[in-house]
């Protein structure tokens, strides 16, 4: 139980996908302009990460691994995730239109998101079990949400600042992202204590 909790905290802070592992930078910079779109996108990411892990883990463990086809995991996972997101979109549209309206525009964006692919691939390098992998996926999603919400706040502040002309737009955004990321590096120190204990 404590191990599970450790993995959860680790995946949210110390191994934050966006700010420590630099995956999913594209939506991080693209969709973080407004707080509500940032939250919408992040909720969709949490949803898809958990779902993708739930499907790809057994596929790897029971189909690819026994046949010595571990090297195929990237292409197989991309295929699965893309199909899965499409399926989710169809199901949501039919049965939960309100959720479809909220997540709908973000789902296609997530289809080829490297954070989602990364989360499913990295379970195996770390040797997580199925349950722990699901917890890790959920935690990574929450970590994405934390990063997005934090950064959306930073960007909304930046909007009302007097920024020198040569830094306006993307340059100042990248600098701000670097500083936010730097602050998250501080969590890496607690990683060993959490998992080891």
């Amino acid at each position: 139980m404590s191990y599970m909790l450790g993995v959860l905290v680790l995946s949210i802070f110390a191994e934050n996908f966006v700010l420590s592992q630099f995956l999913g930078i594209c939506p991080f910079l693209g969709v973080s302009k407004r707080l509500n779109t940032a939250v919408g996108m992040s909720v969709a990411v949490i949803f898809v990460m958990v779902l993708a892990t739930a499907v790809t883990y057994p596929l790897f463990a029971y189909v690819l691994e026994p046949n010595n086809l571990g090297y195929l995991q990237t292409i197989a996972f991309i295929l699965i995730i893309a199909a899965l997101v499409q399926l989710v979109e169809i199901v949501l549209k039919k049965y939960i239109p309100s959720l479809y309206k909220a997540l709908g525009i973000y789902l296609p964006l997530i289809t080829t998101n490297c954070a989602v692919l990364g989360v499913t691939l990295l379970h195996f390098t770390k040797g997580y079990s199925y349950g722990i992998a699901l917890v890790n996926a959920f935690g990574s999603g929450i970590g994405f949400l934390v990063a997005m919400v934090l950064f959306a706040g930073v960007r909304e502040r930046l909007e009302s600042c007097d920024i020198p002309k040569f830094l306006q737009g993307l340059p100042i955004t990248l600098i701000a992202a670097a500083i936010v990321s730097l602050s998250f590096m501080g969590f890496s120190g607690i990683a060993n204590g959490l998992i080891g204990g």
């Binding site: 195929l72 197989a76 199901v91 039919k94």
Partner: protein, 264 residues
Amino acid sequence: MTEILLPILIIGGIGLIAGAGLAIASALMAVPTNETYEKIRECLPGANCGACGFTGCDGYAAALAEGETTQSGLCAPGGADVTKQIAALLGVEADSSKRKIAVIHCIGRQDNNAETKMNYHGTKSCRTAKQLYGGDNACPDGCIGLGDCRKFCPFEAITMEHGSPVVHKELCKGCGMCVESCPKNLISLEECGATYTVRCRSHLKGAACVKICKTSCIGCGLCVKACEQGAVAIENFCATIDSSKCTACGKCKEACKRKAIALQ
């Protein structure tokens, strides 16, 4: 041989299953969409400004498709073109309302016409600046000039020139976002056309007004006398021009000693 065949079979199999699954799912769970809705939605500009009174373009298209409303001319950004297209799709007659544009009623900021009462170095937003003693301008009704209207305009039709916001008629779609954005209520929607407007909303009495702004309306009434159509009236020491009566003769502008009247 199996080393090559197995991966092909497995990946091919996954692809086939995923493809077939999606095909079946989309066939089983197809949501019947209203064709008129789709077509109307395509006509609308997608600005989601809400000027129609519905929740964005989707809401307006749905309301039209489901017969909640038959008014085809509610889309201000789309203008006459969209009205015609929607009317054709629904088989009703097109509403013939005139295009509306935003008009700004203060040019005090332009070339520092108006006095300021402090040096404001805070957040560059009119709304924030207004919290501090009503903004840095000496005139209580004057433009703060930090460009909230420019930021709110979804069509980039407002630019700041010499410190004052200027509406570009050809770009303005009359959605009214800027009207709501102005904390001083200096913007109104008026029918687009060659009419004159008063560029001041100051309700200060004449003497006080002259001191603080070079282009203020002091309510002297010269324009009221000059206008042959009776389109100009003075309320609370400030002139207003009724655009429906204005014939754009320009006599009010000539009469105004304060340069407060100009073409729309």
